[in-house]
Symmetry: C2
Subunit: 343 residues, 2 copies
DNA sequence: TCTAATTAGAAAAACGATTAACTTTGGAGA
DNA sequence: TCTCCAAAGTTAATCGTTTTTCTAATTAGA
């Protein structure tokens, strides 16, 4: 064990209460006494034991971040922003991966609640988050819960996500304006967010009176693997099938970064010229999209900003009276179309 | 607050001690009594409060992972492997970013020790880790400390890292075998690991009787930024300078993934043909190295495996008698050369 | 049948802080 | 001079567990 407040008290010749008050400024302490305490702290290299403090104060200074799929570096970026914001107030994020499995997600949330985190950020795997009602029942103190990236049903709370429908709409409109009419849509998996993007895709087509062809819409399986394995995952196979059976397709809109890895790998292996043979655009920006030849146009989000915003909301909520009826924030962050060489 | 062991005890009509013993199998409990306890637990949806338990037991079930630079997704991969291994035994990693700053690293380690983590994994920013001697002094119970990726001086402990010297040697030998003689070396920053790679580079040159030209060796600054910003960071500028002032250079060996982002961005912007105008090889493999045209050859490590190995060592150490004198493991994991189109 | 050993459970101490409730002292105001 | 209040401490309760120690009851051995 380390040195405790008791030994500090003994060395300083005061009671533990006085040490605590001196250190936390919770009660007036004579300058002379304070000096004795501070000296003792320095001499003993004392640091408070956070477990004892947290147990007593009923808090943990931890924020759980339950991530749908840590394979997706997109979430790491959110985490970066979140961490940056939390550390400013002495809080820490604790990540856990749901691997795109609802059952794991539920376990994760349960686990986090059991660890008595002070707030929870959830990037849900599925739409239905009603399990939260069950998990939270019977709790006296309610904790802030912020959803990011995907909008759940069955449980309402603060929410931060991109203008997915509009972003996809804008991207597909660009492809249409360039003259493309046979445009395919790929997604790494079907979830509420992907659905919004798909809607944007369809709306754009409809606006140009292009019929929606279900054969052009391909959604991958939800297994969670490393990015390297994604190169030849389900999106890769779907892309290969589509390009072989539907050579009339002239453009692809990829619904997210993971799908792009598979689809673009396929395009490369088939030695298709981009954008001449096939135009390409993706949702989500990444540093490597400028390393490809040609560089890849994208509908960009700012995930780090999502993380910082989530942190802001958490501290707002933490400051509020937990009993007060609260209006949930549903924040939509605008996407930005970044045109490069691929379309 | 949530329901505590007290209420379980009351409902089951036993003492808290009995509840604890029944739940932890630390003492024999009559089947009938146990059933009453289990029923009460179920009815109240009771879960132990980990802070109370940890306070009492003097452990935290957390492993601190102090990362040199979380911008580098390489460390996220280590973290993935580590988390996977730790979760199997009910432990959790807690990440913190040192942003390539020694002072931040020291604060982070101090912070982690104060949080009473049960073990520490450190990917150090600097060679000199003697500060640990100071931070650890006066602790009764010593905790396992595992270094990954970079070998420190001033404090000896378990260590896991790649065969950096050999990996770089092998890569540069390949370039030499292909006929290149003017080979540049880029690194994102100078640290012990980069130094090992640089040595491998030099040894290969020497073996071919090629003099080492200091003008061909460029090391970036150590600031920590996002991968997107890295595209035009110090490695980018160094590459631009070198390619303009030393057109005789025909091949580049990049010392790590971050440097590659900058260097390759420059190559692309200059519209140089790879490998005809300039051959390219990098240390560290990434999924996007096959998305570029041409695909990029790499000296691959398996960072996830590093994480798992670190976890294994931690549990070994935790099982050992902490007083026993221990032999520190210095594990070197072999790299693998993956040849693609860039050289 | 009596003693010793075993078993099952309860009581209480401990972990290391915070904090509410007391004590003591000194000074101000009437 | 007396009362009251504020300041600066101390004592003790508390958070929710685990674990040591204690007690009572049962069992085993002779």
């Amino acid at each position: 064990m380390k040195t405790s407040i008791k030994e500090v008290a003994k060395l300083a010749g005061v009671s533990v209460a006085t040490v605590s008050h001196a250190l936390n400024d919770t009660k007036p302490v004579r300058p002379e006494t304070r000096k004795r305490v501070v000296d003792a702290v320095g001499k003993l290299n004392y640091q408070v034991n956070p477990m004892a403090r947290n147990l007593r104060k009923g808090e943990s200074k931890m924020v759980g971040f339950v991530v749908a799929n840590l394979t997706n570096y997109y979430y790491h970026e959110i985490s970066r922003g979140l961490e940056e914001r939390l550390l400013k107030d002495g809080y820490r994020p604790v990540l856990i991966d749901s691997k795109e499995e609802k059952s794991i997600e539920i376990e994760n949330v349960k686990d986090m609640l059991a660890s008595s985190v002070d707030a929870l950020v959830i990037a849900p795997t599925t739409e239905d988050c009603s399990y939260l009602n069950f998990l939270l029942q019977g709790r006296k103190k309610r904790i802030p819960i912020i959803f990011v990236d995907r909008k759940p049903t069955g449980y309402d709370s603060d929410l931060i996500m991109a203008t997915n429908e509009h972003g996809a709409y804008e991207g597909v409109m660009h492809l249409l304006a360039k003259g493309h009419r046979q445009i395919a849509f790929f997604g790494s998996r079907f979830d509420p967010t992907m659905n919004e993007r798909l809607k944007g895709y369809k709306r754009a087509l409809t606006e140009y009176d292009v019929p929606v062809n279900q054969n052009y819409i391909k959604l991958g399986s939800k297994i969670s693997v490393t990015p390297k394995e994604l190169r030849h995952g389900s999106c890769y196979r779907h892309a290969r099938d589509l390009l072989e059976t539907h050579p009339e397709v002239t453009a692809i809109f990829s619904g997210n970064n993971l799908a792009t890895i598979g689809v673009y790998t396929c395009i490369r292996e088939k030695n298709l010229r981009v954008p001449e043979d096939i135009a390409f655009m993706t949702f989500d920006d990444s540093f490597w999209l400028t390393m490809t030849t040609p560089s890849i146009s994208a509908i960009a989000q700012d995930p780090e900003e999502f993380g910082r915003m989530a942190g802001d909301i958490i501290f707002d909520r933490l400051k509020q009276d937990p009993e007060a009826e609260q209006q949930h924030l549903h924040i939509r962050v605008a996407t930005k179309m970044i045109l490069r060489e691929s379309c």
